[in-house]
Amino acid sequence: MKKIVLTALLLATVSVGFSQSVFDKYENEKSVSAMVISKSMFSLLAKFEVVAEDKETKDFIDIAKSITSLKVFTTTDKQVAAAMSNDVASYLKSSRLSELMRFTDENTQIKFYVQEGKDDDHVKELLMFVSGISELEKIDINGKQIETVLLSLSGDIDLNKINALITKMNLPQELNKVNQKQQS
């Protein structure tokens, strides 16, 4: 009996740990450019802007206060990109994310997954997976083309304010497409 309880407990910790860290291994992977920004950073960033005069700054302060984590992983390595794609697939199975929309534009595919928040405008988690950019847009970073971008955003996020976040933090423009469906 004790053994079963122990095993169950162990499995529970493993699965909890796993669901949080499925992408963590990319933080230290050599062929991946990673940017991880914590809740504390966003909360400081929100305080840097003492006076919010324009709408964009106000939006940024609002959204910065609501974010608990931002991770962006970029890779040009095909094998790593394939592994990332697999991890996204298995993460989707184990989490409560559902596909919000997808865009396919010649060789580029952008997929958005979200966990719904308190209303239509808010999400608890947003996952963006972009693959095959290099064949289309030839984005150059240090002479290398970006192949795959994985972006994960958690918190209580107002999708209408995401544009301020993209501009202020220099995030991939593809993220803006998350609002296209709502506008059209």
Partner: protein, 171 residues
């Protein structure tokens, strides 16, 4: 008794950033610098009140530079891991982490959001070495950032002042 237990826990928690800095200041492979805030050469009296307050929260900068020497290829990673392990200590609040090929960066702080005691910046540049900077202050607050930058702009410090502080780096 509680104190005894606490101090034992403290002893067991391995090197701190402070002890690492002290230890490495003796190590010929490291360059260690302390920059007092006075080096900025700012005429404090001519500043506005909020700029003075902001500037007063900064005490000094501790800088530690490790440059890999030819016969120590593995040592860079060893030292780098020691620093990252200290920084992953729960006392430090991690703000951001960057990683691109061999380049690595971590920014963390000690204290609370409205009273930051220390900001730690770690940057590893390729296989060349790394730099560790401790911005030590007293009650640093994000609201002071703007007046602080304004105060910095009045600085009369020149590049020469900093150069004089640096030992011969062979650069």
């Amino acid at each position: 008794m509680v104190f005894l237990v606490l101090s034992m826990v403290a002893c067991n928690s391995g090197p701190t950033l402070q002890s690492y800095f002290v230890e490495k200041s003796e190590d010929p492979n490291f360059i260690s610098l302390t920059l007092p805030s006075s080096i900025l050469n700012i005429a404090v009296d001519s500043l506005q009140a909020d700029q003075q307050e902001a500037l007063a929260t900064l005490k000094k900068l501790n800088v530690l530079i490790y440059r890999k020497s030819v016969n120590e290829l593995a040592q860079l990673d060893v030292e780098s891991d020691v620093v990252l392990k200290i920084l992953s200590n729960s006392a430090y609040t991690e703000l951001m982490k960057l990683n691109a090929e061999d380049y690595k960066g971590v920014v963390s702080y000690l204290g609370t959001e409205d009273a930051i005691k220390e900001v730690v910046i770690y940057a590893k540049g390729g296989q060349e070495g790394f730099v560790l900077v401790r911005v030590i202050g007293d009650g640093m607050n994000p609201k002071y950032l703007k007046p602080f930058i304004e105060a910095l702009q009045t600085s009369k410090a020149s590049a020469e002042d900093f150069k004089n502080l640096l030992p011969d780096l062979g650069i």
